[in-house]
């Protein structure tokens, strides 16, 4: 029984620019938005778009991600035929290889894809926050009778040179691809989401693998090769919310944007496009008498006795009396003790912030850094963590970390 389209989700990235957050887990497993992880977005998009078969390509620190995905049930991806499969690199009779690049990761799993005999394969990336209907993308791909389509976003011209750009004609047919060019000819940035006809993808993956000089990368190798052969390539315009959360500041910003769905365009309250996740199973959150919560998102298991302003608290966060939290992203299980101040920062899971400690600071003209505290770290009483700091080791009582 053939599937029309299956998804391959690239989730092997280390996310080295998230450093303190990705020491022990792959970037797609980074918590986001109060009760989600980044990977919940592409997975939920798949299910909501009618895709029931997803291969997740993992490589870097896959433990947390593997456990989180489990049998795929939270996303309704526990299926008899299809469903979600975690695909790490594996040993073969003729030796074994790490995934050398994005294209090679798919190449090494050609036999997985063949099991479903799909007509189309959609390649997704596990490090973006985006609500997108892939079935609409597929419709476009079919209408254009394309062999390859890429989802693109219009970006401001002055920023265009930071992106991989697609130059397209009036009919959206791609004529040229520019990777981070000095002189952009287009402002259509690739979102790294592709639909291929499977026979075409397979052919180019095999040719790419045979080329010893290739970096085995979609952007650097596969797409230029398709262009060279004058394949039918189209650019699909996407104009919803899309954010690459590859850096601390973009991750922080995306979190803050969900506090303002009316303006930012990322609305998690959409009954028709739910984002699924594995639930904490904790009891409802509590705000005690004397606690203050303003303009924030709070989830199950939180206990708030202090002040929380314009922040996102994940499951089971405790905020003791007199603690002040502002413009902060505080991940699951973290305890913020009495009198501590936590501002304009990201605090990872299971952190303890001691009494009267100070983490981060509200931005000033000279300094607008987002302080980051890695998972499991203890910040001692009266300690100070400066706005530029990225802390992944315990900070003793009274010490300062800048």
């Amino acid at each position: 029984m053939a599937k029309e389209m299956i998804a391959m989700l690239l989730a092997g990235g280390q996310g080295s620019r998230l450093y303190a957050l990705t020491e022990k887990l792959a970037k797609p497993a980074v918590p986001f938005g109060g009760k989600y992880r980044i990977i919940d977005f592409p997975l939920s998009n798949c299910v909501n778009s009618g895709i029931d078969t997803v291969g997740i390509l993992t490589q870097y620190q896959p433990l947390v991600l593997n456990e989180y995905i489990g049998n795929g049930q939270p996303w309704d991806l526990d299926r008899l035929y299809g469903g979600v499969h975690v695909l790490p690199p594996y040993q073969k009779a003729s030796g074994s290889d790490w995934y050398k690049g994005t294209a090679n990761a798919i190449y090494q799993n050609i036999s997985f894809i063949e099991r479903y005999d799909p007509q189309y394969v959609i390649i997704l990336s596990g490090d973006q926050i985006c609500k997108q209907d892939y079935s609409d993308f597929l419709k476009f791909h079919k209408e254009k009778n394309a062999e390859f389509s890429v989802a693109v976003m219009e970006v401001p011209w002055e920023e265009a040179s930071r992106f991989g750009l697609m130059v397209a004609d009036k009919d959206d047919r791609i004529t040229e691809f520019q990777e981070k060019p000095k002189n952009p000819k287009s402002n259509l940035a690739s979102m790294g989401i592709y639909i291929f006809n499977w026979d075409i993808l397979r052919k180019y993956l095999e040719e790419d693998e045979a080329d010893a000089n290739s970096e085995n990368d979609f952007g650097n190798n596969i797409i230029p090769n398709l262009l060279k052969d004058n394949r039918r390539m189209y650019a699909y315009h996407f104009n919803g919310y899309w954010k690459d959360v590859g850096t601390i500041s973009s991750l922080w910003e995306a979190n803050m944007e969900i506090l303002d769905p009316e303006h930012s365009g990322i609305n998690l309250f959409d009954e028709d496009w739910k984002i699924y996740s594995r639930n904490s199973g904790m009891t409802g959150h509590k705000v005690s008498a004397g606690g203050v919560v303003e303009n924030s998102m709070i989830t199950d298991g939180c206990r708030i006795k202090g002040e929380v302003k314009h922040s996102i608290l994940f499951a089971g966060v405790r905020v003791e009396e007199g603690a002040v939290i502002e413009d902060a992203v505080v991940m699951g299980g973290t305890v913020i003790k009495a009198g501590a101040t936590v501002k304009h920062c990201i605090v990872a899971e299971n952190v303890t912030i001691g009494e009267n400690a100070v983490v981060g600071a509200m931005p000033t003209e000279e300094e607008n850094g987002v302080a980051t505290v890695g998972a499991g770290v203890t910040i001692g009483d009266n300690a100070k963590v400066g706005p530029k700091a990225m802390v992944n080791k315990n900070v003793g009582g009274g010490e300062e970390e800048w």
Binding site: T283, H285, K286, V287, V293
Partner: protein, 380 residues
């Protein structure tokens, strides 16, 4: 594999004491009454059972059970999708003269063939109107150590007001015990004694084979109620032991106690006491976190996911998906799933069932001794 000597299967009676809370069970049954911001009463018993490796659970639904079927589904949330055991739902077997269950004897006689086929040595039987994080392992251990034929759990408390007030026996039967060194020598039915009593929690441990024998005999004699008709007359012959429960307990006996027991959980001490055992599982709704918008002001509240709060909320329990609009004031209320309090409305001492809407600007108040209940889907 079923552990041979200590394993137990569970039997739950979800309709017991429905008559005590007629409003709340209008569209459901006792087991599916919402509690503590995101749970249903049965979640506490089911989760307690699965934490004690009781993975073969039968729910003897009698009437109004659609909401419970919807809630339980396949039983996955409680890890009860099992090849061996798992969750079974047993409605009355509808023959030509369809009759609902009356007492436990009739209900159990309906599943005797099932009970005969099972492997577990013991059976644990409970209702759902008692909210506990219960250690069944400990009770089964006590049952085995004492060599009892039947062990019944009880706690020491005064009889609930609604029991004392009821004149007739039409609200069902409740039991208190006269004890002698832990053995139950007297079972009092619907007693009216003042002061602290040994009040039955209607939780039993009994060997499966013995239960089958007892039910067989009782059914032939036309008996209906297990405690009143089967145990009470045989207290001399049977070794019926009492198991004293001293943990946190919330009994739902009427609307007032339903209201009070919810509100009690606003005290961290009580909340921690109830939830300090294993986690309590419930149906997942995949709501987003609760959003507090500019202007929201909350004090002493327990709130589930999926709410949007723009108004003022104080001393209240909010279930999933509740909306409190700008300028609205909510005090001392229980707002169940997806209720809406529109702009400028002012509500106090209400129990709002699912999907109730209080339209803009309305004032509505109950009192602390008489919280006002508003039925499902009502628009005020």
């Amino acid at each position: 594999m079923v552990r041979s000597n200590t394993s137990a299967l569970g039997i739950i009676f979800p309709n017991s004491y429905d008559a005590l809370v007629p409003d709340l069970v209008n569209v459901r049954l006792m087991a599916s009454i919402p509690f503590a911001s995101r749970y249903r009463l049965i979640d506490f018993i089911l989760s307690s059972m699965t934490h004690c490796d009781i993975n073969n659970i039968s729910v003897m639904v009698n009437n109004n059970y659609h909401s419970l079927m919807d809630h339980l589904d396949s039983g996955r949330e409680w890890d009860l999708v099992r090849k061996n055991g798992g969750l079974h739902i047993f409605p009355p077997f509808m023959e030509k003269s369809a009759k609902p269950y009356v007492g436990r004897v009739g209900a159990l006689s309906n599943i005797l063939d099932f009970l005969r086929d099972e492997k577990e040595k013991y059976v644990v039987i409970t209702d759902t109107n008692i909210v506990v994080n219960f250690d069944f392992d400990d009770m089964i251990r006590a049952h085995i150590e004492s060599g009892a034929d039947v062990t019944i759990a009880y706690n020491e408390q005064e009889l609930p007001e609604s029991f004392l007030k009821s004149q007739a026996n039409d609200l069902g039967y409740y039991y208190t015990f006269g004890l002698e060194k832990g053995r139950i020598r007297k079972i009092y039915v619907n007693a009216k004694d003042a002061g602290v009593q040994n009040v039955s929690m209607n939780m039993f441990v009994v060997e499966r084979e013995l239960l089958i024998d007892m039910i067989n005999t009782a059914f032939v004699r036309g008996q209906e109620y297990f405690e009143r008709d089967v145990l009470l007359p045989q207290l001399d012959k049977l070794n019926v032991q009492a198991y004293k429960y001293e943990g946190y307990i919330a009994r739902i006996c009427d609307m007032k106690s339903y209201f009070d027991e919810n509100m009690k959980l606003l005290d961290d001490y009580n909340l921690d006491a109830l939830f300090s055992g294993g986690p309590i599982y419930t149906k997942i709704r995949d709501d987003n976190p609760t959003r507090y918008i500019e202007g929201a002001k909350v004090q002493n509240v327990m709130v589930a996911d999926g709410c949007v709060i723009e108004g003022e909320v104080e001393n209240s329990i909010l279930f999933r998906g509740v909306r409190v609009a700008k300028g609205a004031k909510v005090r001392n209320c229980i707002l169940m799933q997806d209720t809406v309090v529109e702009a400028g409305a002012n509500v106090e001492y209400l129990v709002m069932d699912k999907n109730v809407t209080i339209t803009a600007g309305k004032d509505m108040k109950g009192t602390s001794t008489y919280p006002v209940y508003i039925g499902k889907f009502q628009v005020v």
